[in-house]
Symmetry: C2
Subunit: 367 residues, 2 copies
């Protein structure tokens, strides 16, 4: 092993990445083979099958984008938004803000629907925005990593489709930890990242396009501005044609294959239950320390807990001591929540009873 | 290890990926840590230092893009080309064609300068194109992976700068195998991929921006359309600020760190000499079999050999037998060279005397 890469393992309880099972890490260390090799194509096919199962969809175009979760957002937007398309974007945190920015960059006519950070979007606001003009898509974040808010989707999905629009949903921090029912909930474009509840190292972004989204892609009047993420070409490599587009990140895909296999071996229902139980254990333990979460109990993520920092406590000093003395990483607040919350992730392999107990004990000792 | 990921190693002598040293693979299997962790930031800093050495540049903005080599091309173009910018793009193969496509997608006014596939671009043609209008950039491919042509850069660089334009160069198939002297040759934006002569798994794209390129980025009138690759933000994460942009592909970067360390331990000059010697061994051996290369001897890549397929030989059958019977991967022709050439890569860890001898022996046995 390299003498120069020398660091101790961590307990990763921040907003991602989460801890990665040793079997996934070992899979990534298998010998690289060619991106058009028959054995690699078989791996790709199994990845597609497993991804559909994890995303609960029959969508043919369900693949990993060759970039991190943010590349998933970019791929979702750049393929669907053409200059002048009206986009209703829900903004109640950093990632909704980013979605609006990206839609604008690709020429979208962006209308935002807001809620205070820490609260969910009110479907009535979406209804009103939709009533004011023909809309190409409604974009929102299922699991807002900056605030810990879980956004209910079914009512907004109904309104979106009644208005003839497409529903684009960011599930970066929910997929693999919370139910994400792409077909049942009528999500047209759903993307995620590997490094959160899937517990696979960062670098890939699962994405799924519904038949309506594919039809919109095929009806485009303009080329997708982004060549690298242009699904009209990428889909030919992941489909029957195997047409070369870009060299797939082979070893990262080995890790995805192994990680998806572990998720399905655990079972989705069991995995969700584990995430819920460990979240509840954390909330109860924090309450004993006199601490609470930012979001209302009805809208809390199990995977990412936005903990209000008690008055007079030094945010950075506590996080620094957790990392240095206990090897525990938690996240600070982003944007307007900087210094106001800690972001405590319980994602994938990091969501264990032991981690919750260790964290609570360490926090108590420091405070 | 996963029972489901079951395949034999290959001798990778196609157009990439190349074989990866076990130390690089093992580095990628180290435990994932956070992308803002102090130990990870130290790894990032060492990567930047080593990348500058490998790219022979003092450019501050020298980093790995979080995507494959094609994302490097996208990052180079999207950051520099604004709608209406005149771009002179040299096209003598698949990757020049792609460069012209990408420049057009970002609104560039694209003027192409051509040469037949298998030949180099004539600097006089660039001079003429530059004389016809104020030009923002000249874009070309140093090592055309589709044809095996090495493009001399110094004369074109001089002409480009005399015209006040920026020089954008694709070194995906040359960096680490051929001299790539970013500063000495006056390259303003240079990008590469990890999976060729650097012998690191696909997934990252080293890129370097000269001070003039950074100034052009800072003078932009419009936002970079591509959020994920917007260097005005990415540079703040890789710079002193460490501002979160997207989650870095942590384990891939471990691999890059280790791969760069191995390259510098070998030494750039020694590495170039090894690539040259093994290329010459291959050419001599092919000549004994009555076979030759597509490009003129003065313009041949050492890393990628475009071998003319003899009359009456079944392209796909030979490649299939090489893979099946000898575990050797070589590449077929792309575009207009499909069925006409084999692309035999001797890149990075794949460029060994043993591999050349094994390949020649296997080819002789099959033919």
């Amino acid at each position: 092993m390299s003498g120069s890469l020398d660091f101790a393992p961590r307990i990763l309880m921040g907003p991602g990445p989460s801890n990665v099972d040793a079997r996934v890490l070992q899979a990534m260390a298998l010998p690289t083979i060619g991106h058009l090799d028959p054995d690699f194509i078989s791996i790709m096919d199994r990845i597609k099958t497993m991804l559909r199962e994890v995303m609960m969809t029959g969508n043919e175009l369900t693949i990993p984008v060759s970039g991190t979760g943010s590349a998933g957002m970019e791929a979702a937007v750049c393929n669907l938004v053409e200059p002048g398309d009206r986009c209703v974007v829900c903004v109640n945190g950093v990632f909704g803000t980013r979605l609006a920015d990206v839609c604008g960059r690709y020429g979208g006519d962006v209308v935002t629907v807001g809620a205070p950070w820490g609260e969910a979007i009110d479907p009535d606001e979406v209804r009103q925005a939709l009533s004011k003009g023909p809309t190409k898509l409604v974009a929102l974040v299922h699991a807002e990593t900056s605030t810990g808010v879980l956004q209910p989707l079914e009512e907004i999905s109904r309104l979106t489709h009644e208005a003839g629009a497409l529903l684009l949903v960011d599930t970066v921090t929910s997929l693999g930890g919370h139910p994400v029912k792409v077909d049942e909930w009528g999500i047209d474009v759903c993307y995620s990242g590997t490094q959160k509840c899937l517990s696979i190292p960062p670098g890939l972004a699962p994405i799924s396009f519904s038949p309506s989204a594919v039809a919109a892609l095929e009806r485009r009047k303009t080329k997708v501005a982004n060549w690298y993420l242009d699904m009209s070409m990428v889909r030919n490599y992941w489909g029957e044609d195997r047409t070369y587009h870009h060299t797939a990140p082979v070893n990262a895909l080995y890790g995805l294959h192994e990680g998806l296999r572990l998720i399905l071996a655990e079972g989705l229902e069991a995995r969700w239950a584990r995430h819920k139980a460990n979240h509840e254990l954390l909330v109860a333990g924090l309450a004993e320390l006199g601490m609470g979460l930012l979001p209302d109990p009805d809208y809390r993520l199990w995977s990412l807990n936005a903990v209000r920092i008690p008055e007079g406590v030094d945010d950075a000093a506590v996080r620094g001591r957790l990392l240095k003395e206990y090897r525990i990483e938690i996240g600070g607040g982003l944007g307007e929540l900087k210094g106001k919350v800690w972001r405590v992730g319980l994602m994938g392999a990091s969501s264990t009873r032991s981690n919750v107990i260790t964290f609570l004990g360490a926090l108590k000792a420091i405070l």
